[in-house]
């Protein structure tokens, strides 16, 4: 990436493993899982009644007049984005708000609203459809509401590339800052897919993990020989990205520099991941950061715990990093927070930045016996502390084949 540098100055998160950066950091350090058995009302007809819900009550965060306009996905997004802006200590009244924008990734948008609308129409055979259904369900609602709430007058875009949506949102936001179009971007993702309709659809595809009979919280087992699939989670994560000098001039806390972004398409199969597609995305990210593969100190893997992904991703990492692949810690934090679909990439990039700042490597939990096809250092069972990290990579790969890879580095003057 060239002359205009991109600083990460704010982080915000509402997730199955905590609703603040401090809470998420503690959960990562302790390997605490947010996966659990879902509300019986939701899951009585599910084979595998598990998910990774977020402890979040919309009514406690928004007044009644407002909350009825906002699907859960937008509520989560507004709270996480507000946290990130607060963390960045950004006084928007002092900013040229035409040069501030909002990029959001979401796969399913207002799924609860969609579910409720169909229940009214089909299950209840009623025509009393909530007049706010379109406005609450549209995938663009989270980005629109963030722009409205904070008066951000620059570009407001929504990216929907399935499981890489929010990595794309963050990468594209960084590009807009580099290009000079904008100076400040709030970028991230939100997803609220824990409805019966969505869970049942994913189950129908046979991609969801079986419930661990002894410990439901251990059901998601990336890279493990006995992994059985992904666990759906909900939440939102956002970063504030800022042109470097802009951040320096206002004395902002610079948490990291976003230096690399790689974006590729598999162009092969709608679900089956491609070693080449994933490897090309990692290569592209390294090239944009002008980093040699040897300079990456930690990889937050996509690590979805599906049979296909984890072996493919392992092969792709070996293809990119060669022998060095065996000495880079690679972990899947989805083992504890589940798969947040359109919000996954943002949450995992935030986690990668947390690791960079705290000199910590997050663990892959519930990994006792690795798949022989997965033979890297997955940091099984416990976080590592006091690890010197200078550059970290976060991988996001998606159904449909859109691969997005982000690289963050320790901030340093140049």
């Amino acid at each position: 990436m060239t002359s205009r540098r991109v600083a990460v100055t704010g982080l915000g998160v509402v997730s199955p493993i905590g609703n603040s950066i401090e809470a998420v950091t503690r959960s990562l350090a302790e390997g605490r899982s947010g996966v659990r058995r879902l509300d019986p009302a939701l899951c009585s007809r599910l084979r595998s009644p598990i998910g990774a819900p977020t402890a979040f009550d919309g009514a406690a965060n928004f007044d009644p007049a407002r909350v009825r306009l906002l699907d859960r996905v937008t509520q989560l997004a507004l709270v996480a984005a507000g946290q990130a802006l607060g963390d960045a200590r950004l006084d928007l009244s002092a900013e040229q708000r035409e040069r501030c924008g909002t990029f959001v990734g979401s796969g399913m948008g207002g799924a609860e609203t969609t579910d409720a609308g169909y229940r009214t129409i089909y299950a209840e055979a009623s025509d009393r459809v909530n007049p706010y259904t379109v406005l609450a369900a549209m995938t663009t609602a989270p980005a629109s509401w963030i722009s409205i709430e904070h008066g951000l007058l620059g570009p407001s875009l929504t990216f929907s590339t399935a499981c890489s949506s929010s990595s794309v949102a963050i990468g594209e936001a960084a590009r807009r800052i580099q290009s000079g179009d904008v100076d400040v971007m709030i970028a991230g993702g939100a997803e609220a897919p824990l409805t019966f309709g969505v869970l049942r659809a994913w189950e129908a595809m046979r991609t969801l993990a079986a419930e661990d009979p002894n410990d439901p919280s251990a059901s998601c087992r990336p890279f493990s020989l006995n992994r059985s699939g992904l666990v759906l989670g909900e939440g939102a994560a956002f970063v504030v990205l800022e042109e470097w000098q802009h951040a320096v001039d206002r004395g902002a806390p610079i948490r990291a520099e976003l230096t690399g972004y790689g974006l590729t398409s598999d162009a092969s199969h709608i679900t089956r991941p491609s070693i080449q597609g994933q490897a090309r995305a990692m290569h592209a990210a390294l090239a944009s950061a002008r980093l040699a593969p040897g300079k990456i100190d930690y990889i937050n893997a996509h690590g979805s715990a599906t049979l296909q992904n984890d072996a493919t991703e392992t092969s792709a990492i070996k293809e990119v990093f060669g022998e060095r692949a065996y000495s880079i810690p690679v972990s899947s934090t989805k083992s504890t927070h589940g798969h947040l679909l359109g919000a996954a990439g943002a949450l995992e990039f935030v986690i990668a930045v947390i690791c960079l700042e705290r000199h910590m490597v997050s663990p892959t939990m519930h990994l006792d016996t690795a798949d022989p096809a997965c033979d890297l250092d997955y940091v099984p069972g416990a976080a590592r502390q006091a690890v010197e990290l200078k550059a970290v990579m976060s991988n996001s790969f998606a159904f449909g084949g859109t691969n997005a890879v982000l690289i963050a580095e320790v901030p340093r003057p140049r």
Partner: protein
């Protein structure tokens, strides 16, 4: 409870409005009730007053008083239909008897 009081309860509970703003003369737009809110309110009126709203609500509802009057009309309609319905069914029964 009067129609006004029941309507005020709905507006306080579901729209977060303060009761002392909900006088009969209060204008709906100053209460933040836009056209979509009003459509949504019609479902709540159907449930709260056990009435059926035929099609869309009239477009000239401007104040709380207008909404109260509309609800009272709906209640009167329901009562009229109920008595016409029971009369009709009596006549039918009568018809069968004959």
């Amino acid at each position: 409870m009067s129609t006004l009081e029941t309507l005020q309860d709905i507006l306080v509970r579901d729209y977060g409005l303060e009761r002392d703003r909900l006088s009969p003369d209060a204008a709906l737009d100053t209460l933040g009730m836009d056209s979509l809110s009003l459509l949504e309110l019609m479902f709540k009126i159907e449930d709260g007053f056990h009435v059926k709203i035929p099609g869309d609500p009239p477009s000239d509802l401007r104040t709380v008083r207008d909404v109260v009057a509309y609800i009272d009309e709906l209640i009167a309609d329901r009562a009229a239909k109920a008595s016409a319905g029971s009369g009709g069914s009596e006549a039918k029964v009568g018809g069968i008897k004959m």
